[in-house]
Subunit: 111 residues, 2 copies
DNA sequence: TAACTATGTCGTATGTTTGCGTTATACTAC
DNA sequence: GTAGTATAACGCAAACATACGACATAGTTA
């Protein structure tokens, strides 16, 4: 980790940045939207709906899973991915708090 | 752009991802918080307040400026950076819409 | 003019992300 | 057992991000 000083910032800043990073690729945004809308959310279906290979989609799913935003349950041959609503709510609130705090405390700078 | 298929997603997905990318580094999060709180938002002051070199801070400022979230006005020898409230509000709304739409349309998957 | 100060740009080193082909794993059906 | 299907793991190449020192630019002051 020689070339990232991320750890020298405070926890809120790190948390916001990490959440934002998960959302910083359109594929992951699209996957979340897809999961929210579709009932049968199988990994293969997701790659069919996206302009990416199955391998790449699987990697993005893994990142969303690591962040806790989704969860996957093995159901025989297929895997059912769903949004982890509890974690997703928490993430939404963290980001929202950060954005709203900036808006409200933005003292009209003297420029 | 051989190794990024970002352009093959729809505009909302690209917009959300792009905004998230700007917020995906703690330094930029910290810069925004600093700008919101401090009146005299001079470039030198910002780099003093962060555990990064002046060069690196300057680059992060440039990215925030490219995204339109901040604006900088030259005032003689110093440069005064401020949050662009109009753009920042729009960004907050875009991200908020995306997150809330997912929450509300998240049909409890049959797992 | 020259010296000083504040800021931005360039080049470079290193680390991380993206994307996919190939291979491995695991379950189902026969 | 074998054949077929669905998914994950491995490994590689290209692109991008992070961080900084050194140089360039532009205003200030003497």
């Amino acid at each position: 980790m020689a070339y990232t000083k991320s750890t020298e910032f405070n926890l809120e800043q790190q948390e916001v940045a990490q959440l934002a990073k998960v959302l910083s690729h359109p594929a992951r945004v699209a996957i979340l939207q897809h999961l929210a809308q579709v009932k049968t959310c199988i990994s293969g279906d997701i790659s069919n709906a996206l302009p990416l290979s199955r391998t790449t989609v699987s990697q993005h799913l893994q990142e969303l899973k690591n962040a806790g935003l989704i969860q996957g349950e093995i159901d025989g041959l297929t895997v059912c991915y769903c949004i982890n609503q509890e974690k997703f709510d928490a993430a939404t609130q963290s980001l929202g708090n950060f954005l709203n705090n900036i808006q409200s405390s933005c003292s009209s700078c003297g420029c």
